[in-house]
């Protein structure tokens, strides 16, 4: 980031030379040639469909789809509850994930690898499998209900699955690695001398954490939160499997419009709104981060 050139003049003095050298090594046409496949893939696979989608939502130059979207409270409710669920999932991932990341960063290397494996093996498992696992756990005759009944906390089975609570729990589980990883990498690169210095200057272990480790880990917290939040906003499989009709989210609603009702223009309008909301939140997150001065230089 911006602070880098000030922090390490030696590095910045060395680097431009190598970039200049490589720029000279590859001629202009070769450089463009090398970038072409990626640019083409982006244009064909991303820019074009998104543009088409947005265009589709304004079908015939009218705003009808958007009028419908605003007129019917159901759609705005779904949007609101999507943002709400994404927000709760992000906060839950943060509170559950931070201690794990902190532990991973502090453990000896071997043990940290084991914890890391526990965090990341689920990540490599299909989202579908993980979501179905929650169905097994939470269903009417599932493990959770059986346990609650056996212990005697409940008389009959509770309705756990197909609720918003189930969606939140399952999504938190699925998205947690995306929170843990950025926080872990931030904490890992924090020199231990900062905490030592704080301890030496009179801070107890807890105050050293609150006043030094926590603020310095904020870039990772923001990165993880943005990742979690954005992914949660557009999450499809888990809410579709674990959530019920009463707890519909934007992605499931859009899916329904395209696959069941075949109303593509309206689905496009819903997608455009979701895209806009996502971009607004990303922008707001970045604004917040840039307000916390002095953090740029850390990473």
């Amino acid at each position: 980031m911006s602070g880098l050139s000030e922090v390490s003049p030696a590095v910045s003095a060395r680097q431009p030379r190598s970039t200049v050298a490589s720029a000279r090594f590859y001629s202009r046409s070769v450089s463009i040639g090398l970038a072409t496949p990626l640019i083409a893939a982006l244009l064909i696979g991303f820019v074009y469909p998104v543009t088409r989608l947005v265009a589709l939502s304004f079908e015939g130059g009218s705003l009808d789809n958007y009028r419908r979207l605003v007129a019917e409270p159901l759609y705005l409710d779904v949007l609101a509850s999507t943002v709400k669920v994404a927000f709760i999932v992000t906060i839950a991932s943060l509170f559950l994930g931070f201690p794990v990341a902190y532990l991973m960063a502090r453990l000896r290397h071997g043990v940290a690898m084991v914890v890391a494996a526990c965090v990341f093996i689920p990540l490599w498992t299909s989202v579908l499998v993980r979501s179905y696992a929650w169905v097994v756990l939470l269903q009417r005759n599932g493990i959770v209900n059986a346990l609650l009944a056996d212990v005697g906390i409940t008389d009959g089975p509770l309705k756990l699955i197909y609720t918003q609570g189930a969606v939140i729990v399952a999504m938190t589980h699925v998205l947690m690695p995306f929170m843990i990883l950025p926080i872990y990498s931030t904490l890992r690169t924090l020199p231990p001398d900062y905490v030592r210095a704080a301890r030496n200057l009179g801070a107890g272990a807890f105050r050293a954490f609150i006043s030094i480790t926590l603020p310095l880990s904020l870039p990772g917290v923001f990165a993880g939160s943005v990742l979690c939040f954005v992914l949660a906003l557009g999450f499809y499989i888990t809410p579709a499997l674990v959530g019920g009709p009463g707890s519909m989210l934007m992605a499931t609603l859009i899916g329904q419009q395209t696959t069941v009702l075949l109303d593509w223009p309206f689905a496009a309008a819903l997608s455009t709104v979701l895209l806009a909301v996502t971009l607004i939140f990303v922008f707001l997150f970045r604004k917040t981060l840039s307000l916390s001065k002095g953090l740029h230089s850390v990473h």
Partner: protein, 371 residues
């Protein structure tokens, strides 16, 4: 004076089966500047970490001004510390960094904290820099902020872990004097860790030389330079020439040795230790570069060593002459001569070396050498 005395009593530290520090005992007076020097792995940083409280000693005691702090948490020891890379908190301004120890000590009065911070900034000549962030300062300025932060709460003991390692030579020398000036003005007790023996000699009242986790010698810079108690210290502090040989006789303050080029020397020297090598023992003769005189071949007189000049370099303050012993070309000696006049010798000149009797040290061969 803010400093208090510091005693390390029989400190041991081992990590598993590896011993990092072995029975280290030091008595450091109030207001004294003491350096711990040694090659890497000599245990000096571990010793410092134990004083700071980051590592618990396996055995032994640490006492500051009469208070046993061996098992006291680092934040309750009240020791100041300057870290190798300063460890200034990057998310806090210079002002907030210096205020940190004051806030942690429960001084809630904002104006009093601000006044104190201003005082400290003035002390290190950075008055107008309070609102900057550490990364907006140069290395030397960061160093001074770290110093101000560590001194803000008037700690009885200040620890410094190679604080000048990251600075270039000119700045390092300027900072050496600045640190020394501050330390004397405040009367702080300082324990300074460095691997740079020049730095240690320049700044310290006393220097502790460590190797392999053990204290080799603890004394004033002059003592260490003039009366090293081992070949290791002799080699580590300043430049030293070594010539191998064997002891023929050692009695009544006179030692007779046969050097490896078959020269036999009879030595009467203050540099000889009370318990010198005994007859028949293999020895190392040690002498400083500036205590060897060089004469043209045949003008040296009795008891001189025949040598050939390898190179002769002018380094400003002195001439440095490298010579090889004629009959032992593998022994290369460095000699310093006063720099007045032109180059006194030329390559391949045959010369006689006269060792200054009073400056010769004899060490048993078995002793450890500096790396």
């Amino acid at each position: 004076m803010i400093g208090q005395y510091l005693s390390l009593i029989g400190l041991d530290k081992h990590f598993g089966s590896v011993s990092a520090v072995t029975s280290l005992s030091l008595e450091i007076g109030a207001g004294e500047f003491v350096s711990l020097v040694g090659p890497s792995g000599s245990g000096k940083t571990t010793a410092l970490n134990m004083i700071a409280g980051f590592e618990g000693p396996s055995a032994g005691k640490i006492v500051i001004g009469g208070r046993d702090v061996t098992h006291v948490a680092p934040n309750r020891r009240g020791i100041g510390m300057v870290f190798q890379k300063y460890a200034l908190f990057p998310h806090l301004t210079v002002h907030q960094n210096i205020a940190f120890p004051l806030r942690m000590r429960g001084r809630s009065n904002k104006t009093r904290i601000a006044t104190r911070v201003e005082e400290m900034l003035e002390l290190v000549q950075l008055s107008s820099y309070g609102e900057r962030y550490p990364q907006q300062l140069s290395g030397g300025q960061q160093q001074r902020v770290a110093l101000a932060r560590a001194l803000a709460f008037e700690p009885p003991v200040l620890l410094m872990d190679e604080p000048l390692g990251a600075l270039d030579k000119k700045l390092r020398e300027a900072m050496q004097f600045e640190i020394k000036r501050l330390q004397e003005r405040l009367g702080a007790t300082v324990v300074y860790v460095t691997h740079d023996q020049d730095e240690a000699l320049t700044m310290s009242d006393r220097v502790a030389v460590m190797a392999g986790g053990e204290l080799m010698q603890f004394g004033t810079p002059t003592e260490l330079y003039r009366q090293p108690n081992s070949a290791f210290v002799a080699d580590f502090i300043g430049r030293m020439n070594f010539i191998e040989g064997s002891c023929i006789e050692n009695a009544d303050g006179t030692a007779v040795v046969r050097l490896s080029d078959d020269t036999v020397l009879s030595i009467r020297s203050k540099g000889l230790r009370a318990v010198g090598p005994s007859a028949g023992e293999t020895i190392k003769l040690a002498i400083r570069p500036e205590r060897v005189r060089v004469a043209k071949r045949g003008e040296g007189g009795a008891g001189c060593l025949a040598a050939v000049v390898e190179t002769c370099v002018f380094v400003g303050s002195v001439h440095i002459v490298l010579v090889r012993l004629e009959s032992r070309p593998d022994v290369l000696l460095q000699i310093q001569l006063p720099a007045d006049g032109g180059l006194p010798f030329h390559e391949r000149d045959q010369v006689d070396l006269l060792l200054d009797d009073g400056a010769i040290h004899l060490f048993p061969e078995t002793e450890r050498h500096a790396a």
